[in-house]
Amino acid sequence: MISWSNFVSQLFNGLALGALLALISSGLTIIYGTLGVLNLAHGAMFMLGGYAGYVAYEASGSFIVAVIAGTLFLGIVGVLMERVVIRHFYSRPHEDQLLVTFGLAIVYVEGVRFIFSSLSKTVPPPPLFTGITSLGFMVYPTYRLAVVGIVAVALLALFLVLYRTRLGMIVRAGIEDSVMVDSLGINVDRVFMVVFGIGAMAAGFAGIVNAPVVSLTPDVGEAILVQTFVVVVIGGVGSFTGAVLGGLIAGEIISITSMFNPGYAYVMLFAAMTLVLLVRPQGLLGTRGRE
């Protein structure tokens, strides 16, 4: 049943979904682009952000505190993870990096399950954004609209850091050629640590911001991870703008396909990824040779 209002509603859905994916994926892509490490624990870190925020919310009753807590906690986790584990893997083959992040993902998920059990936890949206908004042709949860706005602000902040600060320039240079950056006398070690921390924070922020939308369970990161890969591939590895574009495209693919046959939505996403990989492997906005 394809009605005009359904179509527009789904377009909008895709935007909301896509915004979130864009944020998470930008974290993953700058980590992969700079460090060359495909962080298979990224979905788990998204989940950790949600739980950290939940704990903060239960303690303080404030959504803002929850968001800050979730983001900062992941910043710490990211930095620790990079310093203690990932750093030793830069010279090891790619597969080893995949394996260790895969293992860490299991540890995070099961650790959370051990502490919090599998019963889902909810974080209610802030009072300002509860309820539904009427958009004329449809009603839409107010908070989801807010998420688009919140994520847009976060992406803007990330953009400003990457493109308007010295640190951001170094990070982007590192994405292009970390060896060169090293030869120029910049402490690449610290850059890597910062990049991992930023990427982790993006995932954590997304996790707590998303918590009122989907309830929190230890497994919530798993599906997100695979979708994030798809976004990164479509958008182009190492490209922040690519992640944003890819996220929006992915969100729309899921929503529009759902209009016709929801069961095929995720399959279409994978088909799109495979198509991009075969036709334009560097992604829509990526640079060639980053394979």
Binding site: L38, V85, H88, R92, H94, E95, D96, L98, L99, V100, F102, G103, L104, I106, V107, E110, G111, R113, F114, V226, F229, V230, V233, V237, G263, Y266, V267, F270, A271, M273, T274, L277, L278, P281, E291
Partner: protein, 629 residues
């Protein structure tokens, strides 16, 4: 590592091990079903290890093939009422291999992480398809229950393999056959090429192997093993589960192989044993309840961090460490230092190499052709807005030794890359021995008799010197693709001869069994040239063969180059003009992507335009000899 020691030893040990297991393990408290499962995972992993450990292709999508083989076999045995378990398993395996071929055609168009991602996507699609559109055949969420167990009709009696220890001999036999076949594959020329692809796919292609076809072969092999293992899973459980298709299954396979040790064939078996044992142990004995997965995850992370090559790798390293402390250190070739003694040594080396002649006939594109061996016309290469080469006309006659010089940025390396067809020209034509090779692949061109040695060493780093040359020689002797998986490297006629003579030519016979990583820089450069030589090229290009060498090394290399020039045509790029002018009969000078001038070394030395190009402007002609005196 190629194990060329007593053949059959590994197979014998495996057989003994498999026989001993049911006699020993029950006393250690092992459940027969766990052991059976370990065997199935182990078999699944053999194929995966060939793909990942030996060929270097990390696929997260093996579950698609495991499930395909399993469901085809299970469907035949349950819904279709097929009576022969053995035959159904084989059909399942073949089906998986066919599907693997089709999947490989898509997935292998990319490499590295992208390849891995495509495999993930394909695995997810297969899972979805199994669950949903094809649920009529696959039972959807429920899977296919009621898979029967096999029986062996021996004429006078029938042996029924049911479950537990009764099923073990059947699975052990399958595993044993799987190992024997896999061992043959990795010891065959195809196995050697797999390893080459893992080490340096660029060079493997450049020495004349059709690496895409070999990768596809590895993928199909892995698919066949996966399909058979999937069928056996159904038999083992009397039920074919849809979980066979999940990403978790692929992930578990990768984890187990990493734990056990990749590139060992037995790694997956050991990894499965550790993983499944820990699973049972943590849940049962320690009574951890839901926390078992957490502990397992921690153990896995620790294993990955501390045991780089898995458990087997850990043992091998330990063994080597112990052995090295006992054995005397192998004498390395002394680093050359200036002095008369070395002059004499260099002469001795030169005298030796002068006697070593190329033993095999060279490769020609067309053996009866009499014109110039190479003719490039209008060769141009643009990279976006940058013009690397512009409209180059270049002709070399057979038997010539041509030099190419030019200031930095002249486009010399790009020119070479176009000649060997590593990069396609933007426009222009290349004719090799009368045959238009424009737009061909680097592999085909090598097979025709045109190859190159690289400016930056492109060697197979974890292989020994001898093994490196074998890879190149195999392409020369067997053509660009031959699926002799069950043959052995040793039995290729002419291989030993070709390898020995090549090693002698580059004076590396004494170092034949040393891994490349342990060679001195000069030795590596010689091996680099050796790799190109092993293809018996009629036209050999050398990209800065003298780069980074000390004066003595240079002298040696120049003499080496002179000796190998006999009977073949060579084109050399270098910056060392003294050496080049000594070697070459004619020299071409490139500047800013164009041919500046061409002539004999003397003519070039005196040419005003060349001087200007290098010095940036002169007044009058410089008498070079006078200047240098």
């Amino acid at each position: 590592m190629m194990r060329t020691q007593r053949p059959g030893r590994v197979e014998l040990l495996t057989a003994i091990g498999l026989v001993l297991v049911p006699l020993i393990l029950p006393y250690l408290g092992s459940a027969p079903n766990t052991v059976n499962r370990i065997l199935v995972w182990g078999l699944f992993g053999i194929g995966f290890d060939i793909l990942f450990g030996y060929t270097g292709l990390l696929s997260f999508g093996q579950s698609a093939l495991y499930g395909t083989g399993g469901f085809v076999a299970a469907y035949l045995l349950t819904r279709a009422g097929f009576p022969y378990v053995w035959l159904a398993l084989i059909i399942g395996m073949v089906a998986a291999a066919v599907v693997g071929y089709l999947v490989g055609l898509i997935a292998l168009r990319r490499t590295g992480i992208y390849f891995a991602m495509i495999t993930v996507a394909i695995a997810e699609v297969f899972y979805f398809v199994e669950f949903n559109p094809l649920s009529e055949w696959t039972g959807g969420e429920n899977g296919l229950p009621g898979v029967p167990t096999p029986s062996l009709y021996l004429g006078f009696t029938t042996i029924h393999f049911t479950s537990g220890w009764s099923l073990y001999p059947f699975l052990a036999a399958c595993y044993f056959i799987g190992i024997v076949v896999a061992l043959r594959i990795v010891r065959s020329p195809v196995g050697a090429i797999f390893r080459a692809i893992r080490e340096n796919p660029l060079r493997a292609a450049a020495v004349g192997h059709n690496i895409h076809a070999y990768k596809l072969a590895a993928f199909v092999i892995a698919a066949a093993y996966a399909g058979l293992a999937g069928g056996l899973l159904g038999v083992l459980q009397a039920f074919m589960p849809p979980e066979a298709f999940t990403f978790d299954t692929s992930g578990q396979l990768v984890i187990q192989t990493a734990i056990g040790g990749r590139g060992t064939l037995f790694g997956p078996l050991l990894g499965a044993a550790v993983w499944l044992f820990l699973q049972d142990f943590l849940q049962a004995t320690l009574g951890l309840g839901a926390a078992w997965k957490l502990v397992l995850g921690l153990v896995f992370v620790l294993l990955v961090v501390f045991l780089r090559h898995g458990i087997i790798g850990g043992f091998v390293d330990l063994y080597r460490f112990v052995k090295r402390r006992k054995a005397p250190v192998e004498p390395r070739e002394a680093a050359p230092s200036p002095g008369v003694a070395d002059e004499q040594a260099a002469h001795a080396v030169a005298a030796k190499t002068a006697h070593a002649q190329p033993a095999r006939t060279l490769h020609h594109a067309a053996s009866d052709y009499t014109g110039p061996i190479l003719q490039a016309t209008g060769l141009t290469k643009h990279y976006g807005g940058v013009i690397a080469n512009a409209d180059i006309d270049f002709t070399v006659n057979a038997g010539e030794l041509r030099g190419i010089i030019g200031p930095n940025g002249a486009g010399k390396s790009t020119f070479f890359k176009m000649l060997t067809c590593e990069v396609p020209p933007t426009s222009g034509k290349i004719v090799f021995e009368g045959r238009d090779i424009t737009g061909m692949s680097v592999t085909d061109v090598c097979q025709l008799g045109l190859t190159k040695s690289y400016q930056v060493n492109q060697l197979f780093n974890r292989l020994t010197v001898r093994e490196n040359v074998v890879i190149a020689a195999l392409a020369e002797l067997r053509g660009k693709f031959k699926l002799d998986m069950l043959g052995s490297v040793a039995s290729i006629p002419g291989l030993d001869e070709q390898v020995s003579s090549t090693l002698a030519l580059v004076n590396l016979t004494r170092r034949r069994d040393t891994p490349v990583s342990e060679l001195a820089y000069g030795e590596k450069r010689r091996l680099e040239v050796g790799l190109a030589l092993a293809s018996s090229p009629a036209l050999l290009l050398l990209d800065e063969p003298l780069a980074g060498m000390s004066p003595v090394e240079r002298g040696e290399t120049v003499k080496l180059l002179k000796s190998i020039a006999q009977g073949r045509t060579m084109i050399i790029i270098d910056h060392d003009m003294d050496a080049l002018f000594e070697l070459a009969e004619r020299v071409t000078v490139l500047q800013e992507g164009r041919v500046l001038v061409e002539g004999t070394p003397d003519e070039i030395k005196r040419n005003a335009k060349v001087q200007e190009a290098y010095l940036g402007g002169v007044h009058g002609v410089i008498d070079v000899d006078e200047a240098l005196a």
